[in-house]
Amino acid sequence: MSGLLDVRDLRVTYATGGGGIPAVRGVNLSLDRGDTLGVAGESGSGKSTVALALLRLLPSTARVTGDVLLEGENVLEMKWGRLRAVRWVGASVVFQGAMHSLNPVKRIGDQVAEPLLLHRTVKPDRVGARVTELLEQVGLPASRAQDHPHRLSGGQRQRVMIAMALACEPRLIIADEATTALDVMIQAQILALLRGLVEETGIGMLMISHDLSVLAATCDRVAVMYAGRIVEEGPARDVVHRPAHPYASALSAAFPKIGDPASRLAPRGLPGDPPDPADPPSGCVFRPRCAVAESVCATVDPPLWPVHSGADGHADRHAACVHVGPGSPSKESESVDPTGETSTEETSR
Amino acid sequence: MSAPTEPTPGTAVSPRALARKRRAEALGRFARDYARNRAGLFGLASLLTIGVLALTAPLFVDQAHLTITGAPGDGHQPPSAEFPLGTDNFGRSILDLIIWGARVSLTVGLLATFVSVTLGTLAGITAGHFGSSGGVGGRVVSSVIMRVTDWFLVLPTLVLAVALAAVLPRGTGTIVLAIGLTVWPPTARLVRAQTLAVEARPYVERARALGGGHAHVMGWHVLPNVMPVVLAQTTLLVATSIIAESTLAFLGMGDPTTISWGGILQAARTSGAISAGIWWYIVPPGLAIAVVALSFTLCGRAVESVINPRLRGGAG
């Protein structure tokens, strides 16, 4: 457990006027240095919530339980001072929608320099040089430091966010839908940049996206989320191309493949409605939309089972579906905890 | 949360009845939501109390006691059982005067606010709307309105009010006009700024793409979105208007024979009550104004929190 990031049983509930919304319901993740972990999933499944929870950036209406171990230290239990020290140095974030993530009235250079000064990463007289270095790293001329965000194109702003995220040489970068809003050309540039960084500096990266092809091309491993849970997790290519969980396969199947005659004029979707997070169905939450659901699915909420794939039989893949579980679906395994739901209700803080 | 319309199964209703029903339901929902806001209820209750007292004043305040010759007490009596707030320099009960004065003060406060908020909102929305989407003709309309607004904005409000008050025949109506016609420009600017912001939102373009005309855009989209500004402005302006009445009196533009809160303050001032230490003459009218203004603010806040979907369901 000496990995870079270790998330254990993370649960997040948003308090609203009409009761709590359990947006994240027990997520486990781990990530080593030099690794890239992709997170895919339905819109609203809690991906961004997880990302924000890692640095305790959620709004005050959110109740968070579980452990987030960043280099062995539990982020959720840190003192505020320590947490602030960890932010951006231990882990930094590239937010969804970088267009709005930059302060419109401050110069790019100042914004990039801010964490440098705050965390005293470099000597004050070196800050200017470091900013130039960072901007050049992401392919922006140093003169851009003098510009305000509105003078930059979306792609450029995204790159500024990345430069900023790199400023303090963090051990972990969380990239939340860093490329969704961009067109394919810029997306390609940015992905190339990120891949290069991970390879060169050996940092860890958590990449959230709903574009499976992006994840397959960029990540080592991919986790698929559905309704606040991870339903499948494993090596990127396997999860994207040979998914084990019915939701993951639906997602994968729905993803258009240009040139594939099967999807030509036949877009595939996932019928049925996403579950109401405030009132999830019993058993497996995916059951109402699952093509291969069985009666047992209505009672058992399956945990992540190892999936034996490939010739070596090594279980580096997991899926939360009775169909991949060992033996008969109805047979209970000692590792299954069907009552996992109950702990959602309790509050620990 | 309930759907805006519960379908009435089986019965065919005319569109108009439906619209009326929907409006009634919206109103009911508004009332229910409002009722959840404690501060808002408190403000409303205090306003209603003052309003009812003012309206029914003739029932329990003897008008003869409000005349100088019919004053029931001696001059400058401190508060007592008979005169809970003491008497003025003629021996009239200050409590009676305050209750009676609420009639004029509330009228001035409400009407002047109404005039200026209406003017300001109309001018602001029109200028903002046509400025951003009216084509050449619209932009001319808009810039004319804005020039006029700017012009009014630049004139010292007080000076203008004084001039108006001096020229028009004396009376409550004049005060209302003098205040209403002079304090609207900031509202207009404010509303215009907000309108411009709203007009730039894609949903306005969507409305136009749906075929909606100027009236639809202004009424359906712009108006609800400038309401918070208008509300905030309204609550502040009520205080401003009531005070303006007393300020005009201070500058000698009021009618000292009218009983209003401003008038009482002014009478207290001219009679030297302040330096004579006759606090019961001077403190109550000032507080009355503050109470009304604060109550309005509470109501305004409550309305805002009800009509703003983001504030709904939050802390009451």
Partner: protein, 357 residues
């Protein structure tokens, strides 16, 4: 300058069979930017001469990178923007901009905007937002509620009652997008102009919506112009694709033709950068400044970034000079496959329209 300004469809009889319901006729839209009194800062030619036809029952995808003018063209088609030159034709008649004409036009042609977050009034419930179009055109009607519910379920918001009285901020991004779509469909338009209708949706929801469009096309004969930078979307639902670059359509043809065998270097580059494109040469990431509609390069507008020119291949084909100096002709909008590229023309001349000299 161009000998080809009046589009002359090569196969007139094909055109005659299905006259376009919506047509952009050499539409140009230029923005004079800047707000200082009297001081402009140059003109942005957001759409710079586009011919495009949408036949009844046809779905046309308009693809291109950010800022190439897709949204502007879509807005122009709806009459929200007046073209600085050229015209928009609906059922063969030029669009008139009097309020009354626009109103009846917009009864039949609907727009789905790019930004679902902004397209909904935060102070209006889902019900009100969807019913808005009905109210504008028909006033309050008795069967309003049923129609709203039907439109919502069509758009995949099921069961509709769950959403009626919600406010936009209580919806997820995908749900908002679907509300906007429902608002456009409730008027049962004949033509739908949709700007990135599924950009913020994940694959499964996206598929649902696209299926709906196809269904409507089949059942009601809906025509659609879908602007997107997502080539997969074109593959999924479109009959034809128009590739736009810097205000111009640079390649046009059926989806299969364009996406399977792209002719324009730009289209090729676009396809190559798709992560699992499987293009042999590997991704061609275009370099150079992003295109700027205020400074349209002379010659072929793509030439400063053109990998074919940069690699010297154009030189070899003997068209390099023309690339730098001659602006390829504006493509006409019909059903034919067309490419605006000197190099491609030299390569496979049959596909190109008449060139200017």
């Amino acid at each position: 300058m161009s000998a080809d300004t009046a589009p002359r469809p090569p196969s007139a009889d094909a055109e005659a069979r299905t006259p376009p319901i919506l047509r952009a006729d050499s539409v140009e839209v230029a923005f004079t930017a800047g707000f200082a009194p009297g001081g402009g800062r140059g003109t942005a030619r957001a759409v710079d001469g586009v011919h495009l036809d949408v036949a009844p029952g046809e779905i046309v995808a308009l693809v291109g990178e950010s800022g190439c003018g897709k949204t502007t063209l879509a807005r122009t088609l709806l009459g929200l923007e007046r073209p600085t030159a050229g015209r928009v034709l609906f059922e063969g008649d030029p669009l008139r901009y009097r309020s009354r004409d626009l109103r009846s036009y917009r009864r039949r042609v609907q727009l789905v905007q790019q930004d679902p977050m902004g397209s909904l009034n935060p102070r209006r419930t889902v019900y009100e937002s969807v019913v808005e179009g009905l109210r504008v055109h028909e006033g309050t009607t008795v069967d309003e509620l049923e129609r709203v519910e039907r439109a919502l379920s069509h758009a995949g918001l099921r069961p509709p009652e769950r959403f009626l009285s919600r406010y936009p901020h209580e919806l997820s991004g995908g749900q908002r997008q679907r509300v906007v779509i429902a608002g456009a469909l409730i008027l049962e338009p004949e033509v739908l102009v949709a700007d990135e209708p599924v950009a913020s949706l994940d694959a499964s929801v996206r598929g649902e919506i696209l299926r709906l469009l196809l269904e409507l096309r089949d059942e009601l004969g809906l025509s659609a112009l879908v602007a997107t930078h997502d080539l997969g979307l074109a593959w999924n639902i479109a009959d034809r694709v128009a590739v736009m670059y810097l205000g111009r359509v640079v390649e046009l043809g059926t989806v299969e033709e364009v996406l399977s065998s792209p002719a324009h270097p730009y289209t090729r580059a676009l396809l190559s950068v798709l992560p699992d494109s499987g293009v042999a040469e590997g991704p061609v990431v275009l370099s150079g400044e992003p295109p700027d509609p205020e400074h349209v390069p002379s010659g072929c507008r793509f030439h400063p970034r053109c990998p074919v020119l940069a690699s010297g291949e154009a030189e070899r084909a003997g068209v390099a000079d023309r690339c730098v100096s001659v602006d390829p002709a504006i493509l006409s909008g019909g059903a034919e496959r067309r490419v605006a590229c000197h190099w491609a023309a030299a390569d496979e001349s049959g596909r190109l329209p008449e060139r200017s000299t």
